[in-house]
């Protein structure tokens, strides 16, 4: 079988793996979002204690490899009695990791909002919570879009690391097929192509969306 | 020999004999569809100081940049001494090394000290030995009065000092002529004087220069010739007394009166 025929044959199987990768990515980025926003608020507005705790979290996850974090969850936790199935461990690991990076993007966006905005909110009588909710957050969400889109793509690529803890995503499926017929290089060529196409499409789509929601001056 | 070559040979000899450093012939330049320089002709002799004045946006700076080919030319010829520098096979880098250029925004090399800024031309372009290059650099810095600042970085110098260093940088290459593109326009008023002083001294020492400027006092005191440019052509050319006291064209007179209105009459 030549390369193209072969590619055509295994494509559906690889697609199943790709779907797992995408599922993993979407779940992880949602966790990252839900956790990242409070983390960033803690780092910008929190008192000394909150600031220290959130900083430790962010530094720990950003200063260590994803692989190590996944190993700790999947291979490490069982030794203290907690066993995560592979997919769950991957979602938790990638999610917590993404939260740390997203926290930094949100923090950067908040700090980029001009100081006068907060002052103006206060001057019409808003308390801190209201100022954050009605003035800071809406602007932050718009400012953070480029970094956030980038995080989505990074996460998609990082999902390949879940192969190492036996999650049946794209790379894993690829190696499974390869173990039967040893055409490993060609399989990975196709896998690379699949990632390339998905990333390029995502990039274009996200840029388009960015342009549509743009507010002049923000 | 064919007639064309004969004429060229004659021109070259003529230029050499009359110590003509620069000859600009029928220069045209357009930016896209807009023609900025519409046929300029002039000559510059050794030791002469020519000052170009005129309303903004009429192509004065562009003209200067065309001479040392930082901007491309659409039509026309330029001769540097006896070499036609607009020929396609001319060595552009060698030509630029013989023409000094002083920018309005100084453009000192930000990562080098004043000494290194002045030294880098002789060192890296002319490939001199370090001792020689340093000697030249220190001399030129002395000449502009900044020898004591030689180890300072551009960001640590005032605007006037930066511009003087950039003049030293141009001088260190021992050029045949120096082009000044509005050298004091980006300076705070109290710093203009120190730069003009250096330029006046250079003119008195016989440096061949073309200066685009709005400083009429300077033009009056050192220019051998003043060119009034408007709308991409030379409207008038002549010695300062003629241009300032008896301008031939209406527009020249109008322009001069506007300037003296704004800055007071420095020609007195």
């Amino acid at each position: 079988m030549n390369f193209l025929e072969y590619a055509w044959n295994i494509f559906p199987i690889l697609l199943k793996g790709a779907l797992v990768s995408i599922e993993l990515t979407l779940l992880a980025i949602s966790i990252g979002l839900l956790l990242g926003i409070p983390l960033s608020l803690g780092r910008v507005y929190g008192n000394k204690f909150i600031y220290t705790c959130t900083t430790i979290y962010v530094e720990a996850f950003r200063g260590t490899p994803v692989l190590t974090q996944l190993f700790i969850l999947y291979f490490g936790f069982p030794s203290i009695g907690i066993m995560f199935p592979p997919f769950t461990a991957a979602v938790i690991g990638l999610g917590l990791n993404s939260a740390a990076y997203q926290a930094e993007y949100f923090r950067g966006a908040i700090q980029a909002i001009k100081g006068g905005q907060m002052l103006a909110a206060r001057s019409i009588g808003m308390n801190t919570i209201k100022s954050i909710r009605y003035v800071v957050l809406p602007q932050m969400f718009r400012l953070v879009i480029p970094s956030w889109s980038n995080e989505l793509i990074l996460l998609l690529k990082a999902s390949s690391i879940a192969y190492m803890i036996q999650v049946p995503e794209l790379v894993s499926v690829g190696r499974q097929i390869a173990s039967r017929n040893f055409r490993t290089f060609e399989i990975f060529l196709i896998i690379a192509l699949i990632y390339f196409i998905i990333v390029e499409i995502l990039n274009k789509v996200l840029h388009l969306m960015e342009r549509k929601i743009k507010i002049p001056g923000l | 020999m064919n007639p064309k070559k004969l004429i060229q040979e004659f021109e070259r000899t003529f230029l050499k004999m009359t110590h003509t450093i620069l000859k600009v012939e029928n220069l045209h330049k357009s930016y896209g569809k807009i023609e900025v320089i519409k046929g300029i002709n002039f000559e510059l002799k050794k030791g002469e100081t020519k000052v170009i004045i005129g309303p903004s946006g009429t192509g004065k700076s562009t003209l200067l940049r065309c001479i040392n080919q930082l901007d491309s030319i659409d039509k026309g010829q330029i001769w540097l001494e006896d070499i036609e520098i607009t020929q396609s096979h001319a060595d552009i880098n060698q030509i630029r090394a013989s023409i000094g250029f002083v920018f309005q925004s100084f453009n000192l090399f930000a990562h080098l000290t004043a000494l290194d800024n002045v030294r880098i031309g002789p060192l890296r372009v002319k490939e001199m030995k370090e001792k020689e290059a340093t000697k030249i650099a220190v001399e030129e810095l002395k000449r502009v009065g900044l020898e004591d600042k030689k180890d300072h970085y551009p960001a640590q110098l005032s605007g006037g000092q930066q511009q003087r260093v950039s003049i030293a940088r141009a001088l260190s290459m021992n050029p045949k002529l120096i082009l000044f593109d509005e050298p004091t326009s980006a300076l705070d008023p109290e710093l203009i004087g120190e730069v003009l002083e250096v330029m006046i001294n250079l003119a008195k020492e016989g440096t061949t220069m073309i200066v685009v400027t709005h400083e009429m006092g300077f033009a009056c005191s050192v220019a051998n010739d003043i060119i009034f440019m408007d709308g991409g052509i030379i409207l008038e050319e002549g010695p300062p007394e003629q241009i300032f006291k008896n301008p031939k064209h209406n527009r020249t007179a109008k322009f001069l009166s506007k300037i003296t209105q704004l800055e007071g009459d420095k020609t007195k």
């Binding site: 490899p65 190590t68 490490g76 690529k157 | 090399f109 990562h111 031309g121």
Partner: protein
């Protein structure tokens, strides 16, 4: 209970040396990847900024896009299995070096490109005006400034590459993670403790490196220059 804790701590104590050896390998790998990335990244950046349309669109941009859109793990496997497919004799180390090195080159080229483009256009004009050729201008004027401007973003790249060395675990290379794995296997020990120690070691190496780069940035900073961190991964 107390016995077990002391046992565990002793176990960890005994394994530190082999972990440190693994860490050393990780550092070596990181330096090799960054080195190749630097050497290959500069021509890519120069080509992208100063090259003609052909060079930019048909050579530089495809290379950069390729290495940036494909996950590091996939790149590693691609080079590793590609070697045997093309009947070349590569050790896993060479495969990793090529894959991760060129990947870093793609990212570093973007750092340098950003730095070069942030340099005021007057610098190039001034260099040309004293007769420097384009090559000399780039070498003596643009480059020294671009490298200084790049240092903050480059320290980001250092951190990323160091963390990514963990991935060469997949090719069987004995760096820090694999050493950790061996220790867990040999001692049936507390996997979580071992891997947390590995994480700590990475953390320390990353931060020491970043501190060193910060120090270099201070040392070579030009008065009047403000540094901007460019996020390569965007």
């Amino acid at each position: 209970m107390e016995e077990k804790l002391i046992d565990k701590l002793l176990l960890i104590g005994k394994s530190i040396p082999s972990l440190l050896i693994g860490a050393l390998i990780s550092i070596e790998l990181a330096l090799a990847f960054l080195g190749l990335g630097f050497v290959a990244g500069i021509p890519l950046a120069v080509g992208e900024v100063y090259g003609n349309k052909f060079v930019r669109n048909l050579v530089v941009l495809p290379i950069v896009e390729f290495f940036r859109s494909i996950p590091a793990l996939v790149l590693l496997f691609l080079f590793y299995f590609g070697a045997s497919y093309l009947k070349l004799n590569f050790s896993p180390f060479i495969a990793a070096l090529l894959a991760m090195g060129f990947r870093s080159a793609a990212y570093q080229s973007q750092i340098f490109r950003g730095a070069i483009q942030s340099i005021d256009v007057g610098q190039m004009l001034a260099a040309r005006s004293i007769g420097m050729s384009k090559f000399k201008a780039i070498r003596y004027i643009i480059f020294p400034q671009a490298l200084r401007i790049s240092i903050p973003s480059w320290s980001n790249e250092y951190a990323t590459v160091l963390k990514d060395t963990s991935l060469v675990y997949a090719l069987g290379i004995t760096e820090l993670m694999r050493q950790g794995r061996y220790i867990v296997a040999r001692t049936f020990g507390n996997a979580i403790l071992v891997y947390v120690v590995c994480a700590l070691i990475y953390f320390v190496i990353v931060h020491l490196g970043v501190k060193l780069l910060d120090f270099l940035e201070e040392k070579y900073r030009l008065p009047g220059y403000e540094s901007k961190k460019i996020d390569t991964r965007i």
